[in-house]
Structures are given as structure tokens and as C-alpha cells.
Amino acid sequence: MKRSTLFRAGALAVATSALLATAGCAGDAGGDSSGPVTLEYWGWAPGIADVVSVWNEQHPEIQVKVVEAAGADDMIAKLLAAQRAGEGPDLAQAEYQKLPNLVVSDVALDISQYADQFSGSFSEGALSLVTVGDGIYAVPQDTGPMIFMYRKDVFDQNGWAPPTTWDEYAALAEKVHTTLPGSYLGGYPDDASTMAAYAQPLGAEWWATEGDAWKVGIDEAPTQRVVTFWQKLVEQGVVDTTHFFTPEWGTMMNDGSLLSWTAGAWAPAAAFSVAPDTAGLWAAAKMPTWDGETGTGFMGGSSVMVTKNSAHPKEAVEFLTWLNASEEGTRGLIDAGLFPASSVGQSQLAGQPVPDLVSNQADFWDLAVDIAGNSAPFTWGPNVQVAFDAWSDGVKSATQTGAPYTDVLKAAQDAVVADLEKSGFTVQ
């Protein structure tokens, strides 16, 4: 009996691993061309279903069904699995940095031939985020121009001004630490999307293509400068090292231990749920600059792409154009708490109520639109997640052991290059 139990347990282990690795081959979905078209739309943006129901009422011939299939992090895995099984949605929300992966994984459809409908409504910077190689693979939905969100009440009490440069930020971090023990000016960038947004204004190019070859520039001067800056603050103990959106971080945002957060313009809306007691006490300013440069960074935001499985790409793009680049659609996006990527959408922001956390700052939207206009361009590669994981794992352990952050940067660079080569790409 023991022997068979054991064998079963062993076999179970094999089966579990086998199940872990389940995936299928891609197939083609058929679709009939007559009658009303139904499009399935996978997304996670809250409140998007309300916007879509407005469309559905007006367009009986193109019905869109919203499915909250997964959050931003799990969306790719689900899409890949569904697509390889020949299933999945017609439309899917995807973060900008994940689009190249979806292109090389044969999930995203090149919609260049329909792009005339919407391309005029987006800035060049926004369009560059959905352009992969020679094709356009998605319609931008929302973006996150970087803002410095700070506790205006505490700043005013102590006579502090929001820092305009990172040097001022460092000085202020020290001042906060001595004046208010137990409080921090802010946290270090332990996730790579924050780090990328800090390094973008310096001209960082983590991925670039030259002909058919990739050039990886993670471990280069701009980003090295950013990580060296933050390591000094971490070693001085004047910045916090709690990862954002953990329970610990939420407590600190709410009880006044964290006095600022440098993140995308969605930050006030996103932080409200963890720091409701501080509503109205925050204000936003431009992100500090390194050398007074004008370009700024982007963090987060997403686009909606059409999948290769979709039998109705034309109708899908028609809907996406309405959703992301029409007055009516973008008003819905704004109501849903998103910062629209299109110029049409951004022009709708004036006069809109500002997020609760910054409710005393009437010009919040003007500021965000102004920053969005100056975004520095950035190219993402097909294996962004490798860099993100390597950075966030590495920086946490380096913080524990005191190893230089630049070593982590080099490890991330090496991991990305190795992964590209393993996948058959040429790396310069």
C-alpha cells in the first residue's frame, strides 16, 4: 500500500508539472459575416463596461461584450494560452510594455490598414507606444505622465516646496527624515516601470532596434545614474523601501508616514482606496528633473489591441476608435478614472472633477495634460518582463545585502540579452 501511495504521489508530481506547462497550438476561428457582429473584449479597467454599454445601445450591428478576464499582470498569460488554443477575445487591453511580446507571440494583429480612423487623434509619442517595428498593433487608451504627488498640508506646515530637481529631492528627503522621524519623503523605485519612467527623461533606451538586430541599453549611463542616486538615499536611510500597494505601504500612505509618491497621473485615483483619510490633503507637481530637461516620463497606461483570432478586425477598430478617440467614448474613460491617451480625450478633461486625493488642486488636469505633451519617447522590447523581474528581485536583495544597484542593472541587462538570444533574436 505504501509503495503504491508513493508511486501515486510521485506520478502526481509529474502530472502537476505537466499541467503547469499546458498550452496548445494556435488555430483559426471562423466567423460568419452576416447579422450583428459580437466582439469579445478582455480588459481590467474598472467601469469600462459602463462606457461600452453606451456604444452597444447606439450600435446594434456591432455588439461588444466586456469580460474582466484578468488584471494587467495575468492578462498576457491568459491571452497567450487562449490564443494558442484557438480561442480568446477579439479585443484585449494590454499595457504598452507588453505589446512587443504579444506581437512576436503572434497574438496582436497589425491594424495599420485601419489606422487612418484614429491616428490623427493621438500625439506622435502616444502612437509610438503602439508601433512595433513597421506595424501599428493597438489603439492607445490611457497613459500615465509622471507627476510628483505630495502631502501639501505637511509641506506647507514645514515651509517646504515640492522639489524641482532630483538633487532638491535628495536634500528634502534628508530634511524630512530629521524633522519628522518615522516619516519619509518617498520610496525607492523597486519596480522597473517606475525606474524606466525616472530614466526616460535622461534618454534611456532599454531596447532599440537596428535593422533586424536588438540593442539592449539597460546597463548604460542614464539608468546607472538613476540607480546610483537612489542607492545613496536608501543607504542614508532617508527613503522608504516598502513596495507600493502592499498593505504596509497603504498604511503608510494613509497615516502620513509617506509624504510623496512619484508616479503616473493615475496615482491620485489609484491611491485613494488605500489612503481615503488623506483626501484633499495632496497636491501634484511636475516630476523633479535631473538637469532641467523638458522631456518627462511615462508610467503605466495601456492600449487595446485586436487579436489575430478576431474575425472582425474592421469592426473592432471602429469600436476602438469610438472608445479611445471620440468625445463620447473618452468622456466615459475619464468617468472610469482613466487619463485618456488621445488629444480628443485630453481636451475633455478641462472642467472635469479632479480626483479626491487632490480635490483642492483645481488645475490638476491641466498640469497632467501639460506633462503628457512633453513625454520622452520610449521603446519596449519583446521580453520586458525578464528585465522587470530581474530588477525587482535584484534590487530587493541588493538592498538587504548592500550590493551595488549597478550590479543589479548589469544582471538585468545580461538576463535580457540571454533571453533574446535564447528566443532566436539577434542582439548587437
Binding site: K2, A18, L20, A21, D212, F245, S397, Q400
Partner: protein, 309 residues
């Protein structure tokens, strides 16, 4: 024997022994094939493939045969080796503690005249019924400095607070969750085995003047050995599959990486990095390792424990 039967009635009976066993086996075989053989075969197939770009900077990646490349990559991956090391530390703390406590509780509950036995048994078993993720979250909040009652108590008596989720505390904290969740199940297995020991043995020992301590140590524990071996094996296998607790606590701790334990690394490779092939190869390696360890342990212990086999 079969030859005699077939000689007596060649037509009817010669078929029957050939068909009947298979007919009875068919449902089990079908399930076995569908849910074990095919997935294992598919995992092995995946482990020798790799998604490779068809050329160009944005060339579409397709499944390509790469032979044993994924196995070489898995076995030489320092991250996988490091994760096995961390798992080893975790196992060294949690397995002996779980089994030791389970044995202690089982023996205590088996004492004659013990009070509140049913209640205690249920109370010790209850954590096993709590879903792993919920248990890990509960403990996570108890560990986090800002929400932990331990911090509150320590500060009340003027001691510095403890960061349970970093440094050397981390392994103790993780093991604590595993022990908390695992003791109940193992205790029940041992307790059931204890109840099946004939009470005549105890009476005989008592007549010979043995104390309860001597009965426990000289009679109960030796007779319990089969159950101990079984629970030990289960615990080792469960430890090799540890995944839920560190994954749940990852966002709360700076010390838990994406590849903290082997299964976390496999999950990350398969679902975050879309490297299903590498994950499949690592899974096969891990599964074979589990099998070898289990069979080895069993062979080692079997000779002493199940001599009659």
C-alpha cells in the same frame, strides 16, 4: 492452469481471460492515460521545444525543436540551484517541527484520562482546514511590522520591533505557517494509528510496572513507525511542492524573490516570461528528483519498517 482450461473449452474461455481484465481495467486506464500519461508526455514534448523567432527584430516566435537545451539550461541555472537551497533550509526547519509536534500531540491525546480530548483534537486539526492562501495572508498581517500585534507588545515593554519577513527570521516565519497548517493532519494520522494498537499491550506493560512515559517511548512509538514513515514522506513531498505561502507573502517581503522556491520559479517562467519549455524541463527535473528522493527514502526505511514486505 490456463492450459487445462483452454483444453477443456477452447473457444469460450480462451477469449475471456484476455478480454475481461482489460474490460475491467478500461475505465482506470482511460483516466490514467488522459490525466497522467498524456500530460506527462506533453510536458516532455514541450521540454525539448523552444519558441524561437523566425527572424527579424519582431519576427514571430514558433515552436522549434531544441533537443536537450532546456534541460542543460535548467540544470546549470544558478537560480534553480539557489531556490533548491532555500527550499532545503525551509524543509530542515519545518519537517522535523511538524512531525515532532504532531507526534507529541498525538501521544498526549492518547493518554488515558485526558480531558477535553475531542475539543483539543479539533482545535489542533482546524488550521489544516483553513485554505493555504488565507492562512498565509492571516500570518502575513501578523508578521508585518505595522500591523503586527507582536510589534505592539514589544514596543509596550520597550523592545525594538522584529521584522519577521526579512533576514534570518524569514525562514522561521515561513516554517511557522507550514507547521501551523501541517501539524493537525499529521497528528490525526498518528492518532488514528495509535488507536489501532491493541490495549492489551498497555495492560501487560502496566502489570510489568511501566510508567506512561515508558509505554509511550517503548511501545507506542515503535508501533507507530509505519505511520511516522508515511507522514514523513508526505511532509517531504509537500515541502518540495511548497508554493502558496511564499507566493502570498512575496508582495509583503523584500526577501522573497520571484524564484524563491523551485515551483515559484517554474510558475514565473511559464506564465510571466512565457518560457513554457524551460518551465516544462525544470518540472520534469523536479518531478524526477521528487521520485528519486521518495523511492530512496522508502527503500531506506522499508527494510527496517516493513520487513515483511
Amino acid at each position: 492452469m490456463t492450459t487445462t482450461i483452454s483444453r477443456a473449452a477452447p473457444r469460450r474461455t480462451s477469449l475471456r481471460p484476455r478480454v475481461a481484465p482489460w474490460a475491467f481495467l478500461a475505465p482506470a486506464l482511460a483516466l490514467f492515460t488522459m490525466f497522467l500519461v498524456v500530460p506527462i508526455g506533453y510536458a516532455i514534448y514541450l521540454s525539448v521545444m523552444q519558441l524561437r523567432s523566425s527572424g527579424g527584430a519582431f519576427g514571430i516566435r514558433r515552436q522549434t525543436f531544441v533537443g536537450l537545451d532546456n534541460y542543460v539550461a535548467s540544470l546549470t541555472d544558478p537560480e534553480l540551484v539557489a531556490s533548491l537551497g532555500r527550499l532545503g533550509i525551509f524543509a530542515l526547519i519545518s519537517v522535523p517541527l511538524t512531525l515532532g509536534l504532531a507526534l507529541t500531540f498525538a501521544l498526549l491525546l492518547d493518554l488515558p484520562g485526558v480531558r477535553l480530548a475531542r475539543f483539543s483534537r479539533l482545535a489542533i486539526f482546524l488550521p489544516y482546514a483553513v485554505p493555504g492562501v488565507i492562512g498565509a495572508l492571516l500570518w502575513g498581517f501578523l508578521y508585518l511590522p505595522r500591523t503586527s500585534p507582536a510589534t505592539y507588545l514589544l514596543q509596550a515593554v520597550g523592545l525594538p520591533s522584529v521584522d519577521f519577513l526579512n533576514g534570518s527570521w524569514l525562514y522561521l516565519s515561513l516554517s511557522n505557517i507550514a507547521v501551523w497548517a501541517g501539524v493537525g493532519f499529521n497528528m490525526i494520522v498518528m492518532y488514528t494509528a495509535l488507536r489501532s494498537i491493541p490495549s492489551e499491550l498497555y495492560e501487560a506493560a502496566k502489570i510489568d510496572g511501566a510508567s506512561e512515559w515508558q509505554i509511550a517511548w517503548r511501545i507506542k512509538v515503535p508501533l507507530l513507525t509505519p505511520a511516522l514513515v508515511l507522514t514523513f514522506l508526505f511532509s517531504v513531498i509537500a515541502t518540495l511542492q511548497a508554493y502558496g505561502e511564499p507566493t502570498t507573502l512575496r508582495s509583503m517581503s523584500n526577501s522573497i524573490s520571484f524564484n524563491f522556491f523551485p515551483l515559484m520559479k517554474i510558475y514565473r517562467d511559464a506564465f510571466n516570461l512565457d518560457n513554457t519549455s524551460g518551465a516544462a524541463a525544470a518540472s520534469v527535473v523536479l518531478a524526477l528528483g521528487t521520485l528519486v528522493i521518495s523511492l530512496g527514502l522508502l527503500r531506506l526505511l522499508q527494510r527496517r519498517t516493513f520487513g515483511e514486505n
